[in-house]
C-alpha cells in the first residue's frame, strides 16, 4: 500500500508540475516532455485502478528486502495487502484509508489512518509549481522488467542537493515496475523492482491476513498530534524544500534487558518537522537531550542520517538526499529565542 501511495504521489506531483509548465518549455523538448507527462499520468492511474499482485525486491546499499503486494479495486473500494517476506513477518492491509499492521510474534494489530492521504495533498499543496526548476524530466530508454516491456522516465536533479530517479513503467498498463535512485555519478544507490507480477485477474482471497483469526490479538491505534514548532528554524534547506508537516508523538523506548522485568518502557516526547520537495523528504526529529548519545552520521543507500546535539536538545535528521544537503541542513537548525 505504501507502494501505491508513493507512486501516486510522485506521479501526481509531476503531473501537476508538468501540466503547468508544458507550454513554457523549450520547443525542442516539448514533445519529449509531453510524452513523459502522459506516461507519468498513466503510471499514476495504473497504480490506483489496476488489479495486480507481485513480488518486489528492494535494494539499499548492501541490503536486500523482499515484499509482496496485492492490489485490488472492488467497486470503489481500494484494498491492498503488503506482506514483508524477509525478516520478521509483517502484513499491512489497507482498505481505502484504514491501515492495519499485523505483527504475529506479539499478536498485535496496529490500526491507523493512512497518513499520506493527508500527507500527499499537503505535500502537493506545498509543492512549488517549479519542480522542473530542480529536476529535468525526460523520457529514458526502453527495457524489460519482470517479463514486461517497459519505458523509462528520467528525473535528473539540477543541483547536488538531491538524487536523480529513473522510473520504469510497463508499456501497456503504465504500471511502475522499477524505480532507481541515482547519485551524482549516475550510480544506482537504491532501487526497487518487481521480480514477478501478475496484472489483472487477482484472487481476492489473497487479500486476507495470513494469520487466521486475529480477533483475539491486541489492538493498538497509533496517534500523532499535529503541533507548532515555529520556534525552530532551518535556514539551510535545499531550494524547493517546504515544510509540509510538524508533529509530536510519544515514543516508547524498548526497556533494556536488565530493567525489563517490571519496569515500564521509558516514554519520551519527540517532535518531528518534515520538509519535502514533492519527491522526497527530510525529517528533523527534536527531543530533550537527557540521554548520553554520540554525534555522527550514517549513510544507507540513498538514506542519510545525522545525529547531533544542539544545546539542551538532541537532533536526528533523516533524509533521502545526498550527504552534502544533509550537512547543510544539520548545520542550519536553530532554536529561536522567544
Amino acid at each position: 500500500m505504501r507502494q501505491t501511495r508513493v507512486l501516486l504521489g510522485v506521479v501526481l506531483s509531476l503531473v501537476m508540475v508538468l501540466s503547468a509548465h508544458a507550454e513554457s518549455t523549450d520547443a525542442a523538448n516539448t514533445a519529449d516532455k509531453q510524452e513523459a507527462q502522459a506516461l507519468l499520468k498513466k503510471i499514476q492511474s495504473a497504480a490506483q485502478k489496476l488489479n495486480y499482485s507481485g513480488t518486489f525486491i528492494y535494494q539499499q546499499a548492501n541490503q536486500i528486502r523482499t515484499s509482496r503486494i496485492t492490489h485490488v479495486l472492488e467497486g470503489r473500494n481500494e484494498i491492498e495487502k503488503l506482506e514483508i517476506l524477509d525478516g520478521q513477518p509483517r502484513e499491512y492491509i489497507r482498505r481505502n484509508e484504514d491501515v492495519t499492521c499485523y505483527m504475529p510474534e506479539t499478536r498485535t494489530k496496529i490500526v491507523e489512518k493512512r497518513v499520506t492521504q493527508d500527507g500527499f495533498p499537503a505535500i502537493l499543496a506545498a509543492l512549488p509549481a517549479d519542480l522542473t526548476d530542480y529536476y529535468n524530466v525526460k523520457m529514458g530508454e526502453t527495457g524489460r522488467v519482470a517479463g514486461f516491456d517497459c519505458q523509462a522516465v528520467l528525473l535528473e536533479p539540477k543541483d547536488n542537493m538531491r538524487y536523480g530517479y529513473k522510473l520504469w513503467a510497463e508499456k501497456n498498463s503504465g504500471l511502475l515496475l522499477r524505480a532507481q535512485t541515482l547519485n551524482g555519478k549516475n550510480e544506482i544507490v537504491e532501487q526497487i523492482s518487481f521480480t514477478q507480477i501478475g496484472i489483472g485477474n487477482i484472487d481476492h482471497s489473497h487479500l486476507k491476513p495470513s494469520f487466521g483469526n486475529t480477533s483475539s490479538w491486541h489492538t493498538e491505534s497509533s496517534v500523532i498530534n499535529p503541533t507548532n514548532l515555529n520556534e525552530w528554524t532551518v535556514t539551510g534547506m535545499p531550494p524547493g524544500f517546504k515544510k509540509v508537516r510538524e508533529l509530536k508523538r510519544m515514543v516508547a523506548d524498548a526497556p533494556s534487558s536488565k530493567s525489563a522485568a517490571g519496569t515500564a518502557a521509558m516514554r519520551r516526547e519527540v517532535s518531528q518537522l518534515i520538509f519535502s520537495d514533492g519527491l522526497v523528504a527530510i525529517s528533523i526529529f527534536i527531543e530533550p537531550g537527557s540521554q548520553s548519545r554520540t554525534e555522527g552520521s550514517l549513510q544507507q543507500g540513498a538514506l542519510n542520517i545525522v545525529g547531533k546535539r544542539q544545546g539542551d536538545y538532541w537532533l536526528t535528521i533523516v533524509g533521502d538526499v545526498p550527504p552534502a544537503a544533509m550537512r547543510q541542513v544539520a548545520n542550519s537548525i536553530e532554536l529561536k529565542n522567544k
Binding site: V10, I84, A260, L298, V318
Partner: protein, 204 residues
C-alpha cells in the same frame, strides 16, 4: 575429546560467562594462541548474527587491537572487579528455541547466551569485562549516569559509535519509520521491510 576440543569448549563457556573459575586461567591462556582467539571471534560472530541480521558485519582486520587501544587510552573511572559474576538467571539463558550448536567438528557447545536476545547484550558486556578488565563497562541504568568521556560504553541503551558513525539500533529504526511514513519516497513500502521496524522490543 582431544585437548583442542576441550579448549574450544572452555572458550565457548568463557564467552557465555559460564566457565567455572578453576578453568578461567586455562581459557585465558588459550586465548593467547591464534587458534583460541579465532574460536573466540567465531563464537561472537555466530552470536551476533543470530541476534540480528544487521550485525552480519565484517570487522576490519585490526578491530580488536584498535578497540583495545582505545579502551586503554580511557581513564579508568571505577576499579573494575576482576571476576565477573553473572546473575543466575543470565546463566540459564536457554529460551524456547532450539539450542543451536556450532558447526565446528567436535565442538558440541551449545550457544546458550544467544537464545534469549535480551541476555545477549549483558553477555557481551560481560565479555568486554573479560577482555579489558581495566575498563569499566556497565550495562543498564548505571551506564546512563556514568558518562564516559569518549562514549564507548557498551550498553544496550546507547548508540555505539564506530568511526564516527551512528550505528543502527532500534531507536534509529523508529526515526526511519517515522520519516518514511511522511515521505513521498519511492521506497517507503520497502522500508517497512526492516526487521526492527514497528516492532516493540522482542523481550517484552
Amino acid at each position: 575429546m582431544n585437548t583442542k576440543d576441550i579448549t574450544q569448549e572452555q572458550i565457548s563457556a568463557l564467552a557465555d560467562g559460564e566457565l567455572s573459575d578453576a578453568y578461567v586461567d586455562m581459557a585465558l591462556a588459550a586465548l593467547r594462541q591464534a587458534d583460541g582467539r579465532d574460536a573466540w571471534d567465531v563464537y561472537h560472530q555466530i552470536g551476533d548474527i543470530m541476534r540480528s541480521d544487521d550485525m552480519a558485519l565484517t570487522m576490519s582486520a585490526d578491530f580488536s587491537a584498535r578497540m583495545a587501544a582505545r579502551l586503554d587510552a580511557e581513564p579508568a573511572i571505577i576499579a573494575a572487579p576482576l571476576a565477573v559474576t553473572l546473575q543466575p538467571s543470565e546463566q540459564i539463558a536457554v529460551g524456547g528455541g532450539q539450542p543451536v550448536r556450532v558447526g565446528v567438528i567436535g565442538v558440541r557447545r551449545t550457544i546458550k547466551r544467544f537464545a534469549l536476545p535480551g541476555m545477549a547484550a549483558a553477555a557481551v558486556a560481560a565479555a568486554a569485562f573479560i577482555i579489558t578488565p581495566q575498563t569499566v563497562v556497565v550495562s543498564g541504568p548505571a551506564a546512563q549516569q556514568l558518562t564516559l568521556a569518549s562514549a564507548s560504553a557498551v550498553s544496550d541503551d546507547h548508540v555505539v559509535t564506530h568511526a564516527g558513525e551512528v550505528l543502527r539500533d532500534s531507536r534509529m529504526d523508529e526515526y526511519l519509520t517515522a520519516h518514511q511514513r511522511f515521505s513521498p519516497s519511492l521506497y517507503s513500502a520497502a522500508q517497512y521491510a526492516r526487521p526492527a521496524t514497528f516492532a516493540p522490543d522482542a523481550n517484552n
